[in-house]
């Protein structure tokens, strides 16, 4: 510590006073920039109102709700089997993953467990929807940073994954395939071998993205140290999924609460990154895609025979009670809290979707950054509007 003399103190105070006077005399009005609801950077209809000083953000506020479809209320007038068709429109890039927590919660209330083969295939499709979802993130990050080419590679290789999902479920985007007590159908013949080929392509895509894009200096300059979320702040805002893991929080529901899945039987790893910046979030998701392809390979080799549907009554009435099941979806923790009064329809359903919490941090995170960084940060937080508004 250097000693501060009175003279230096006085000089400091005088300088501050002079600054303050200049600020009062030359006070300029900030500009309010409205991004959205229609804006290429917001993946849908998120609106960000930012108060700017030049290019610097003083305050930013996200406004959601332009795409609210009222799914929580709609579930109250639909029978349990009908609800999967609704909920797989929440995160439309990884639709199958939305059905699973709802089905698992319903199964928990009914006391049914899906047969082993159904659990394996469920895990398989769950991971495939994660791959389909995160591939698009990897490409889209390029678009947001100004490099258009990775997005085309992403769309090219995601198509192979979607083809495989379509071959099983009949729907590229909205499979509606999960049932209480199992799955709608079994796998088609020869599907497992083809899936392993597709996973080779996905791994090649990951290498491509890493070589062409992530290892570039401009990418590092744009993302390293931008939008740093310390672990404690991430916890306070309830962030989950890759966003939390990129802040160094070692928390993955696939490993920590694998109820209804076969994750404990697979050889895989939860990746975390200590930095918590945009680069870390991109890196963690890239590694996650690679882990998922590994898991899918293992499942393709190890899926057991047997029935794919448990004994379930023809008309499904869920006994009275409450259940909450959360799973590690592509965007983060997604949970369904179901209250049943023993009817054909649920009494109340609360959907905890990951993007809502992940985006809630933006007012804290966007303070003081530059306008281009808003885009980087929003892209790296990775939200789907359907997952915010439901």
């Amino acid at each position: 510590m250097t000693a501060v003399t009175d003279r230096e103190k006085l000089a400091y105070i005088a300088a501050k006073a002079a600054d303050a006077r200049v600020n009062v005399e030359l006070e300029t009005e900030g500009m309010i920039l409205n991004m959205g609801p229609q804006h290429p950077a917001t993946h849908g209809t998120l609106r960000i109102v930012a108060r700017l000083d030049g290019e610097q953000v003083i305050a930013a506020e996200p406004i959601a709700g332009y795409m609210h479809r009222g799914y929580e209320k709609l579930t109250e007038v639909r029978t349990y089997p009908q609800i999967t068709a609704l909920v797989n429109r929440i995160d439309w890039l990884g639709s199958f993953a939305n059905e699973v927590p709802f089905i698992l919660a319903s199964e928990q209330l009914m006391g049914i467990e899906a047969p082993l083969r159904a659990q394996w295939i469920r895990t398989l499709l769950f991971e495939m929807s994660r791959v389909a979802n995160l591939i698009l993130f990897l490409g889209d990050m390029g678009v947001q940073l100004g490099a258009v080419t990775p997005a085309f590679y992403a769309f090219r290789d995601r198509e192979f994954v979607l083809d495989q999902i379509e071959a099983v479920t009949g729907g590229r985007f909205h499979p509606n395939f999960d049932r209480i007590g199992g799955l709608k159908d079994d796998l088609p013949k020869g599907w497992l071998a083809e899936t392993k080929n597709v996973m080779v392509k996905v791994r090649r895509f990951c290498d491509e993205i890493e070589d062409l894009f992530m290892n570039g200096e401009i990418f590092a300059a744009r993302t390293r140290g931008i939008g740093v979320i310390p672990a404690d702040v991430a916890m306070q805002y309830g962030m989950s999924g890759a966003n939390a893991r990129a802040s160094g929080i070692d928390w993955d529901l696939r490993r920590d609460a694998p109820f209804g899945f076969v994750y404990p039987e697979l050889d895989w790893k939860v990746w975390t990154h200590p930095d918590g910046d945009s680069f870390a979030r991109f890196w963690v998701r890239l590694q996650e895609v690679r882990e998922s392809t590994k898991m899918i390979d293992q499942i393709c080799d190890g899926v057991p025979g047997g029935p794919i549907m448990a004994k379930v009554p023809r008309i499904i009435k869920v006994p009275a009670g409450e259940a909450y099941v959360a799973t590690e979806n592509p965007l983060g923790e997604m949970g369904f809290y179901i209250v049943s009064k023993g009817d054909l329809t649920p009494f109340r359903v609360k959907i905890r979707s990951a993007s809502f919490n992940n985006v809630s941090i933006t007012p804290w995170l966007l303070r003081g950054v530059y306008v281009p960084d808003i885009i980087t940060i929003l892209a790296s937080l990775y939200f789907i509007l359907g997952d915010i508004d439901r």
């Binding site: 500009m31 920039l33 409205n34 804006h39 290429p40 950077a41 290019e55 390029g142 678009v143 947001q144 940073l145 100004g146 490099a147 258009v148 080419t149 085309f152 590679y153 090219r156 062409l212 894009f213 570039g216 401009i218 990418f219 300059a221 744009r222 530059y370 306008v371 281009p372 960084d373 808003i374 885009i375």
Partner: protein
């Protein structure tokens, strides 16, 4: 005042000759621009991105540009309510005029130049910076925050990158001992590399640093990725172009790609030998009247390819990083290049 035309042997008045030169220049400019747009923006990029690009209009989509122009011409010419109508209307013309003026002094053959000015290269660079005014006019008159931010970014960026552009050229000017583009071309064609005159002495060999700085600065002047902050479509939507539609947008489009061609032609004139083939190859002036325009077109098209290759490979910088690159890296490097070139010129 009449003079005998050197190629055609016709007796033409000065104004007749000038009109012919300007018209031929315009045709060459638009043809080259159209060719570049089709070749790179439509096809080359599509193949990079694992898609086919336009395939329906004409064989392999070669008439696509005409279809696009036809579409733009049909669009309504929208003026937003709060815009400054007059300024908003003429801003694209200012940008396009700056592009056209650049072509005035670029030589494409022994006599194929609209005006052979003594200070040719600085005329080009001065005219190219006129476009900033048009862009600032557009951004301010649009009465749109995105447009204003884009225009201000463009202003800061174009002024910052003028300097490395000019300084990179100084090395060539020192080597050639002239500002006239024809003299610079001649100096490269007749030059020797340690007594060997097989390929002349294109300045890319001695001025490789200047060439690299010039290309980077051109990328920024053209506001192409990685320096496309002013039009950054994912954040500022389209910057100063956001309120433009129809024919006025078309004018911006033509200006953008014509400027790319112009800068590529200048770069090939300064660093790659221009229209001239090495004199040791023994081609006469008569032949070069025909071959010269082809030579420089080919070189320019190849250099535009480099611009597009970079554009579709890299992400973009942030505004402050872009300024840092200009002021802390490119300008010192260009100054060092001038010093080294000057010393080398005296020593050798």
């Amino acid at each position: 005042m009449t003079q005998l035309h050197p190629i055609l042997g016709l007796e033409l008045a000065y104004w007749q000759e000038t009109v012919i030169r300007v018209l031929l220049g315009l045709v060459a400019l638009l043809l080259l621009t159209g060719g570049v747009v089709y070749l790179y923006l439509f096809k080359f990029v599509s193949f990079m991105q694992s898609r086919l690009g336009p395939m329906e209009a004409g064989p392999y989509g070669s008439m696509q540009l005409l279809a696009e122009v036809g579409k733009w011409l049909q669009k309504e010419d929208i003026f937003t309510e709060d815009s400054d109508k007059f300024i908003f209307g003429i801003a694209p013309a200012v940008v396009l005029a700056s592009t056209f003026l650049m072509f005035v002094v670029i030589p494409a053959g022994p006599n194929a130049v609209v005006a052979d000015l003594g200070t040719g290269i600085y005329f080009v660079l001065a005219m190219s910076s006129l476009s900033v005014i048009g862009i600032l006019m557009a951004g301010w008159a649009s009465a749109n925050k995105y447009a204003l931010m884009g225009a201000l970014r463009a202003g800061g960026q174009l002024i910052a990158y003028e300097l490395p552009l000019v300084l990179a050229v100084v090395g060539v000017v020192i080597s050639a001992g002239s500002l006239n583009l024809q003299d610079i071309v001649a100096a490269q064609a007749t030059g020797e590399i340690f007594g060997w005159s097989g390929i002349g002495n294109p300045y890319i060999l001695t001025q490789i640093v200047g060439f690299t700085i010039f290309l980077i600065a051109v990328q920024a002047e053209l506001t192409q990725t990685p320096f496309d902050m002013p039009i950054a479509e994912s954040e500022l939507v389209a910057g100063y172009q956001v309120e433009y539609t129809g024919i006025r947008f078309l004018v911006y489009f033509i200006a953008e790609f014509a400027t790319a061609v112009a800068f590529a032609a200048i770069a090939s004139t300064l660093f790659l030998g221009g229209w001239q083939l090495p004199t040791s190859w023994g081609l006469g002036t008569g032949t070069m009247h025909v071959v010269g325009p082809m030579v420089i077109s080919l070189k320019a098209i190849l250099l535009v390819g480099v611009v597009f290759w970079v554009r579709f490979s890299l992400p973009r910088f942030r505004e402050d990083q872009l300024q840092k690159l200009a002021w802390k890296v490119l300008i010192p490097l260009a100054l060092a290049n001038i010093v080294v070139t000057g010393v080398a010129k005296v020593v050798f």
